[in-house]
C-alpha cells in the first residue's frame, strides 16, 4: 500500500457507513453507536445533512455509564478526574451527544492517506473520519490497520 496515494485510490482502508448519532441523541444511542463499531472507539455526531460535527469518545461515554450503573464508584473516579470529566459526569442520564461531543481531525477522500494518518496521530486518535467533497461523513480509517498493513509484503 502506497501511503502517498489519495484515499480515493485506497478505498479498501475505509470502513464505510458507520453508525452515527445526532446532537440531541441520548446516552443509549451513543452507546449503541460505539458498540456497533467498537474498533472506532467513538460515536460520530452529524447534523441533518450528515455533515460531521464531532465525536463522542468511548472514554467520555464510559464515565456517563459508570455514573448510571455504579454512582459511588463514579463519584470516587470524579475526585481524580479532570474538569471535563466532572462536567460530563454531571449530565448523568440526561447526557446528549451535544454535551459530550469533542472535535476531531478529518480527512478528505482527495488527500494522501499519509496525511490523514499523520493528522490522526497528532490528534491522539485511533481513527480518522473520512468525508466527501460535500463534507458528509463516508466512513473512517483505522490508524492501526493502515500501519499494520505496511508489514505485509507487496502482492
Amino acid at each position: 500500500m502506497n501511503l502517498e496515494q489519495p484515499i480515493s485510490a485506497l478505498r479498501s482502508v475505509v470502513h464505510l457507513a458507520p453508525p452515527v448519532v445526532g446532537q440531541s441523541d441520548g446516552i443509549a444511542r451513543m452507546a449503541a453507536a460505539i458498540a456497533a463499531a467498537p474498533e472506532a472507539g467513538v460515536a460520530f455526531v452529524v447534523d441533518d445533512q450528515t455533515h460531521l460535527l464531532g465525536v463522542v469518545t468511548r472514554k467520555d461515554l464510559d464515565t456517563q455509564l459508570l455514573a448510571l450503573a455504579l454512582p459511588k464508584l463514579a463519584a470516587r473516579r470524579v475526585d481524580l478526574a479532570d474538569q471535563k470529566e466532572v462536567w460530563g459526569w454531571a449530565h448523568g442520564v440526561d447526557a446528549t451527544a451535544a454535551n459530550l461531543m469533542v472535535g476531531m481531525a478529518v480527512a478528505s477522500v482527495d488527500e494522501p492517506l499519509s496525511k490523514a494518518i499523520e493528522r490522526a496521530i497528532a490528534d491522539g486518535r485511533d481513527v480518522v473520519p473520512v468525508v466527501d467533497s460535500d463534507k458528509r461523513l463516508l466512513g473512517y480509517i483505522s490508524v492501526f490497520e493502515v500501519l499494520a498493513a505496511q508489514l505485509e509484503p507487496e502482492s
Binding site: H15, L16, A17, P18, P19, A36, Q49, V109, G139, Y140
Partner: protein, 132 residues
C-alpha cells in the same frame, strides 16, 4: 447500459449511505440507483428490473423486513438477490432478516471490498454460476 454492468438499486433513507456506496463502487461494474423509500423503489423497478437490491432494515417509519416480504411476494421480484444493510449485529435481527427473505446481511460499517465480493457472489449464484 454495458452488458457487463451490474444494475443495483440501493434503498436507504440516509443520503450518507448512498454517498458511501457511490464511493465504494466508483470505477467498478456496479451502477447504483439510490432511492430513499418503498414508493420510489417500486417506481425504479417499473422503469427497469435491477440485478440486485440493497435494502436498509430501517427506513424511517418503514420496515425493511416488511418491504423484503413484499418483494418476495411479487412474482417480478421474487427471485431477485436482496441484501440487507444494517447497523444491527444482534443474531436475532439477522435471523428475522433471513426469515423475511433476505439472501445476505451486510453490517455497517462495511468495507468496499466485502460489499463488492458479496454482490458479485450473489449474482453468480443467481445466474447459475455465470460471473457477470
Amino acid at each position: 447500459m454495458m452488458e457487463t454492468e451490474i444494475d443495483v438499486i440501493l434503498v436507504d433513507d440516509e443520503p450518507r449511505v448512498a454517498a458511501a456506496l457511490a464511493f465504494a463502487t466508483e470505477g467498478t461494474e456496479v451502477r447504483l440507483r439510490p432511492v430513499q423509500d418503498a414508493e420510489h423503489l417500486w417506481q425504479e423497478i417499473d422503469v427497469r428490473l435491477p440485478a440486485l437490491i440493497l435494502l436498509d432494515l430501517q427506513l424511517g417509519d418503514q420496515s425493511g423486513l416488511d418491504l423484503c416480504v413484499d418483494l418476495r411476494a411479487n412474482p417480478e421480484t421474487a427471485t431477485l438477490p436482496i441484501l440487507a444493510l444494517s447497523g444491527f449485529t444482534d443474531p436475532k435481527v439477522k435471523d428475522s432478516a433471513f426469515s423475511a427473505g433476505f439472501d445476505d446481511y451486510i453490517v455497517k460499517p462495511f468495507s468496499p471490498e466485502e460489499l463488492l465480493v458479496r454482490i458479485r457472489a450473489h449474482l453468480r449464484r443467481a445466474s447459475g454460476g455465470d460471473a457477470r
